[in-house]
Subunit: 327 residues, 2 copies
């Protein structure tokens, strides 16, 4: 490894001068600047980021903690964040938490030790207090925790309403909901949206709500049972697309025609909604925008700027496809 000393020696200047041309600050004679730059080229010198970090107490690295990158909702988010922060000169340390608070804390500790400049995370297990303990810029994605913690997410309740209203408009008479995990806030909001629309209807019953854990296989199992017990159900709003895929599968296995006998709509609008047959209706989140905004906020925070708002809530959009079209 060639160091700043090597460059200094070869260019007949002090390390301070080299540092000055490197960072383009402080006065430096045009000629010596050129000479130094030539030597840098010649030696293919690349400054040591670790040494720099140690001094500056920053690393040009941010952490990104997701529950599980294997869940198709997250890669797009990661990509969007990377695209943004990368152009600002940052890199991402990625970790999977499995929604486990111990892992989350563990990774936050490690990231802090590595001087990451900030972290973006998707969590609902950590509370406001625990988060502020870390005293570093943190922005929450997808799931808000507290009005004081910077966060960006979508209007899940509205989404739940849109989805359910849509099914109603398509003529569904008995609409069930496959709900996400208990402790996940957005799952609850989507559920509330569903309630907003059908909770007061005469046919409504809590029996039409089952839990699918945001997971396709679980959703398939519970849906099969649900439909066997309640053959009158003619519409299902699944809390996310993975579960909607499970619902689709369940219908297929039971020989129920979609959308004729059963209209289905999911949430998130992940890429494969268009690959199923029939194509899956969904409530789309502006994933790329959401990720970008989170990245923007984090960079702002890191640069010590003030945030205009602590929370950004994006709108969702109904994507009507074949799985729910009966008209």
């Amino acid at each position: 490894m060639t160091t700043i000393r090597d460059v200094a020696k070869k260019a007949n200047v002090s390390v301070a001068t080299v540092s000055r041309v490197l960072n383009e600050n402080g006065y430096v004679n045009e000629d010596t600047r050129k000479r130094v730059q030539e030597v840098i080229q010649e030696l293919n010198y690349k400054p040591n980021a670790v040494a720099r970090s140690l001094f500056k107490k920053e690393s040009k690295t941010i952490g990104f903690i997701v529950p599980d990158i294997t869940n198709p909702f997250f890669p797009a988010l990661v990509r969007s964040v990377e695209d943004y922060i990368n152009q600002k000169g940052f890199t991402i340390i990625l970790s999977n938490s499995d929604e486990n608070p111990e892992k989350e804390k563990h990774y936050l500790d490690i990231m802090k030790q590595k001087y990451v400049d900030g972290v973006i995370m998707v969590t609902n297990t950590l509370d406001h207090e625990q988060i502020s303990t870390y005293s570093m810029p943190i922005v929450l994605l997808d799931r808000p925790i507290h009005a004081d913690v910077p966060s960006v997410f979508v209007d899940n309740r509205l989404g739940g309403r849109l989805a359910t209203e849509h099914l109603l408009k398509q003529g569904c008479q008995r609409i069930a909901h496959i709900k996400g995990p208990e402790k996940v806030i957005n799952a609850d909001d989507r559920y509330q949206g569903y309630l907003d629309v059908v909770g007061k209807l005469p046919w409504f019953s809590k029996q039409y709500i089952v839990s699918g854990n945001y997971d396709k296989n679980t959703a398939m199992e519970v849906t099969k049972k649900l439909l066997q017990n309640h053959p009158e159900i003619d519409g299902i709003f699944a809390g996310n697309d993975m579960m909607a895929l499970g619902v689709l599968k369940a219908a297929e296995q039971l020989g129920i025609k979609v959308p004729e006998q059963l209209a289905i709509i999911g949430f998130d609008d992940i890429d494969l909604t268009e690959m199923t047959s029939p194509e899956l209706s969904s409530v789309a989140q502006p994933v790329y925008e959401v990720g970008k905004k989170a990245a923007e906020m984090l960079i702002h925070l890191i640069e010590g700027k003030n945030l205009e708002k602590k929370q950004y809530i994006f709108d969702v959009e109904l994507m009507e496809r074949k799985s729910s079209k009966r008209l």
Copy 2:
């Protein structure tokens, strides 16, 4: 931030002693050890990883460069690598290269500057020489470049053969192939496997081979044209699952029944093969094993151990599902 000095001062010992208990090396009296540990607890002291890195010239971080995390094949790989290296005390810096050699080099530079201990990458644009320039442990995933560069991948040619033979056994008389991108080695190997099986058959024609760029939309377009020009085609081997999904879609749009009129098989066996209708046959890669092995090799290299083999080639497995079952 509390430092090792703070701990030393409060525990009435030197920083060296604190360092000793921290790293569990060197002699240290049991009593003082306890005292130091208490202070560490009390102050919630966490050693500064950057300072440590600077001294040790290692960072307990590895780089992982993938073409695009948004491609559903990669998240599982990332996950598997993370699971392994994490338990060895490492974290991952993730970057998307978009198959762009400039980006790849850029990220490798940055990673090197950050003292990553090694990198795992999926590439086919960099050659042996360029890679060795970086003089740090690098292992290649999914696509081998050169026998001298440590790499792990699957027997793609065998996979191509298995897929094609399977279609033949199912009674297909005219089998087409949707090929991956030109420069991607595994795409070519899969294609070779296809040729091994049908290249010498009387009906064979180069017209049955089209390029789909590993992408579902492209694949859908080219497949539509292909099937319109060659209605005699009754079997398609797609170079990966995303393209197979496109083929499925194309068939649907043309009103061609799968598998009765057209048998389809993909490659990779990504998660959603089971979610389509009909379920998609595929050639499965042991993704988790592949990722794990790459991580293992990298850690070995980092620890200065010798590799038993430079290349690990995993077997693939035929997954027969509805999209290709005609018997």
